[in-house]
Amino acid sequence: MVERVLRAPAQYWMLIMMWVRSSMAYPASFFLMLFSSMVLTVMDFVAIVLMFSHISSFGGFSLAEMALLYATASMTLGIADLFTGSIERVGERIRTGTFDAYLIRPVPAFLQTAADGFALRRLGRPFQALVVMVFAFNRLDLEWTVARGIMLVVSILAGTVIFGAIFVLGAAFQFLAVDSAELANSFTYGGQTMTQYPLAIFGKEIVRAVTFVVPLAFVNYYPVLYLLGKPAPLGLPSWIGLLSPLVAVVMVALASLAWRAGLRRYRSTGS
């Protein structure tokens, strides 16, 4: 078991490098796609800038503060999508029967499914998030300490892991309902769209739901509130943002249980 876990990163790396080489077969097309995926994702932020041509504060957030929320939401989803986003194709594999091939190879089916069609062009989203983040920090008047820097990096990693776990949960659900790939989009892309904005604008019930049910608020909202020194909603303590690594661990445990349960339930279509 331990040996299997230790081997996993190298196996995953091998699989994704295979897909990277294949995508580089047409370099012009690759760079066009990388560029357009950057432009495509930055349009969401352009929309926020256009909004701010009419308003000066959105739900108590200035443009620079919104930029930080946007950048952290986009960065975490972008990296999670890069490494685990392909897993949503599992339903298609189950339906066509090609999933069987994953079960007989000496690499865990999870790694093969997560690396399936690894698309390096998805780096476009984290790239543009980085640009927006630089813009945000230039405009924000934050006092930087080592602790704050570490906290930002750790919370981005934790947020990435939370989104990654949601991708896996969505994929695990496809063992039950094969054709439901799009359902997970509500929580992944929908979650990213929500977390770009101050969550409090959606109302108390939603804040409760994204804190205690699907912990999207821990992806970036609570950490950013802590970083900006803004109070947390629902009377929650302001240090709640420091809990995101813990939430990430719980989410990984849940996702791993769900994936195993799904795998156990799997019956080949035989086609």
Binding site: L40, A47, F58
Partner: protein, 265 residues
């Protein structure tokens, strides 16, 4: 004519077989509807009457947008996606020696798809939205007729764009880059990211003149009765783009067909 009707009917039936996919898609559209309502409520609370819309207009915009997204297929649709794939793989040769017109064949396939998605994925989110929020609906039979015409024309405009993107595969080896580019342009200029009425100054004027405006913003404005020049000019605007796009599509089809023959298929 009968053959194209038969194609459209079969395409409709084909899409009606993906039940779970359809339900999960409609669920996702509904979730996005609620998210966008939260955002727009805040925006219109800060600036009432923004872009000439009142809050009810903005909320109606959200649900119509979520309902029209798949039928109009501005982010690409299964049908034209398959056409692009067939161009890439060479299977298009099979389509070309059928005794039917390539453009009309794929238009029929796409209309069948659009009708199914309009009924299910358009209707369901709108119903949920109308139950929760106070939405606007067209008041007279004539207004409903105008909406139907606007939506139909929007599907034709969107098809024209997607068909051209798919056929670009005859000239470039990999159409995926082109599809991405089309996705960027259609998300931004159709009003999908933000209603075009909110776009300030020159950007707004340009955005409202593009064919993408005719796929989303214009039919929604027909529903709301908010077209700047009235419904007649809105429909004419859509028709104008359809003529341009379908003539372009016809030209590209005949040039591409000749190209295939020259290469020996």
């Amino acid at each position: 004519m009968g053959v194209y009707w038969a194609i459209a009917v079969r395409s409709f039936r084909r899409f009606s077989t993906y039940r779970i996919a359809t339900v999960s898609g409609a669920f996702t559209n509904t979730v996005f509807g609620f998210i966008l309502c939260g955002i727009y409520l805040t925006l219109w609370h800060e600036r009432p009457g923004l872009g000439g819309y009142d809050t009810a207009d903005a909320l109606t915009f959200v649900w119509l947008q979520q309902g029209l997204l798949m039928p109009v297929g501005i982010w690409g649709a299964t049908t034209t996606g398959e056409l692009g794939e067939r161009v890439r793989s060479g299977e298009i040769a099979v389509d070309l020696y059928r005794p039917t017109h390539l453009l009309l064949w794929w238009l029929s396939v796409d209309l069948g798809r659009a009708m199914f998605q309009l009924l299910v994925r358009g209707g369901a989110p709108l119903l949920v939205g109308a139950l929760v929020f106070d939405l606007k609906f067209p008041s007279s039979p004539l207004a409903w007729l105008a909406v139907a015409a606007g939506v139909f024309l929007a599907i034709l405009v969107s098809f024209g764009i997607r068909y051209l993107v798919a056929l670009s595969g005859f000239w470039i080896t990999d159409t995926r880059g082109m599809e991405q580019l089309a996705l960027v342009l259609s998300s931004f200029f159709s009003g999908m990211i933000l209603p075009l009425v909110v776009f300030p100054g020159g950007i707004g004027d340009i955005a409202r003149a593009t064919p993408w405006a005719a796929t989303m913003q214009v039919p929604i404005d027909i529903w709301l009765g908010r077209n700047p020049g009235g419904i007649g000019s809105a429909l004419l605007f859509q028709l104008g783009w359809i003529v341009v796009l379908l003539l372009g599509a016809q030209l590209v089809t005949s040039v591409a067909t000749r190209k295939v023959v020259i290469q020996g298929g």
